[in-house]
């Protein structure tokens, strides 16, 4: 679990996404800023989501591996 500025907390879950709590926005690897409208968001870690940068649950079809 990593603490970020402004109370943001990130946590990678086994075989799943990164859960981000308390964020106002999420900046992806390309530097694009995505606004956050939920108390918790799930950021894709497997690369297969069709809703980048967000998780869409599709990792479960990949044999539940975070790649």
């Amino acid at each position: 679990m990593t603490r970020r500025p402004a109370g943001e907390v990130r946590r990678d879950v086994p075989g799943g996404p990164t859960l981000v709590r308390g964020a106002a926005s999420y900046t992806d690897e390309q530097g694009v800023v995505h606004p956050v409208t939920r108390p918790v968001v799930a950021v894709c870690r497997c690369g297969a989501s069709q809703r980048q940068p967000w998780c869409d649950g599709v990792h479960k079809l990949l044999g539940r591996r975070a790649t």
Binding site: V40, A42, W54, C55, G57, V58
Partner: protein, 350 residues
């Protein structure tokens, strides 16, 4: 909402009672209700018993939106609570019997890895895939039927699970509320999931304000909705409510994509599928929070509740499976999945 049409002796007597002024039930009324409830509870399959599930649905609805023509004071009437308890007992006993082996197996696995066991339980479910059918074959009429039947639960989405909030403590309560806040629109009334659902109905040409969809919902659909109230209204079953919530969240994200696909294939406007689109993303978060944080915190604090969490999920999967089987059996035969209009009599045709 107007009260639904009765489906048998119990619901007929119950609805007649509710049309009156709350007061002391006469000994005759009380005996009549108890006898009718007992007869309904003797059903071999309470999940498919129209009279039982509709009566339970009506009794629970007194705690949610109520009925325009029913005095609100009936909600806590001891005579009606006694009937509710009879029906709940038959329903719960049946669900426990149906899920016993599965719950024992999954609980064993959950003792060493609760999240893993809950994800595995939901994924091992071999129920029919309504969303798979929806994506490739669903007709426009079947889309409407799906929306009407799901309206029983979705127009009060998150409300039944909310009754579990004061029954949970510390971290489990926090994580349940964290998800509920998102379900209720995360501060944006127009993004409430129940509101998005009503929008989807309107965009499909259906009227969400007309409670008539309840009359069209067969017992299995009512049962899948009733079970949440059975769990969340009883502190004893708080862990089952949490397990059921986790079931809802973890079986939603991928199927919701199928419904978005169906709506787009059928050429429906965006408001008709925005509800499902929201669930693709929201429930990918909620399943993690529900399984790991809500159920995880609950069992960490109350280890004796582990089996109850698993039971809640298993019972939910069983009931959703029954609904899925009903829909696909009817649709594969080219028939409507809706209950037909009620005949003049009160008895359900055999």
């Amino acid at each position: 909402m107007t009260p639904p049409e009765p489906r048998g002796p119990l619901s007929a007597l119950l609805l007649r009672t509710l049309s009156g002024v709350p007061g002391e039930l006469t000994a005759q009324d009380r005996a009549g209700l108890e006898a009718a409830a007992e007869a309904a509870c003797a059903a071999a399959d309470p999940v498919a018993d129209e009279d039982l599930q509709l009566s339970l649905w009506v009794l629970y609805e007194l705690h949610y939106r109520g009925f325009a023509t029913v005095d609100d004071r009936w909600e806590w009437h001891p005579g009606l609570l006694a009937v509710r308890q009879q029906l709940e007992q038959a329903f719960e006993t049946f669900l426990r019997e149906r899920t016993r082996e599965q719950v024992a197996r999954a609980s064993e696995a959950a003792r060493s890895d609760l999240p893993g066991a809950l994800f595995a339980l939901a994924e091992s479910d071999d129920g029919p895939s309504v969303s798979g059918y929806a994506r490739s074959r669903m007709t426009r009429e079947q889309w409407d039927e799906l929306l009407l039947l799901r309206a029983v639960s979705q127009l009060k989405e998150a409300d039944p699970h909310s009754f579990a909030v004061p029954r949970l403590q510390r971290a489990a309560k926090v994580h349940l509320v964290e998800i509920l806040y998102d379900e209720y629109g995360a501060g944006r009334p127009e993004r409430q999931h129940a509101v998005l659902y009503a929008d989807a109905m309107r965009a499909s040409g259906l009227d969400p304000a007309d409670g008539g969809y309840v009359d069209r919902a067969p017992a299995v659909v009512l049962a899948a909705s009733n079970v949440v109230s059975t769990f969340a209204l009883h502190r004893r079953l708080r862990a089952a409510a949490a397990g059921h919530f986790a079931m809802v969240e973890t079986t939603s994200s991928l199927p919701s994509k199928g419904y978005v696909g169906a709506a787009q294939r059928l050429g429906l406007p965006e408001q008709a599928w925005a509800y499902f689109d929201e669930h693709v993303e929201a429930d990918a978060v909620h399943e993690q929070v529900a399984i790991r944080d809500l159920c995880g915190a609950l069992v960490a604090r109350e280890p004796a509740e582990l089996e109850s969490v698993v039971f809640g999920m298993a019972a939910g999967l069983y009931l959703e499976g029954r609904v899925g089987s009903h829909l696909l059996e009817r649709w594969h035969r080219g028939e409507s999945a809706l209950r037909g209009p009620v005949a003049a009599g009160l008895q359900e045709p055999a």
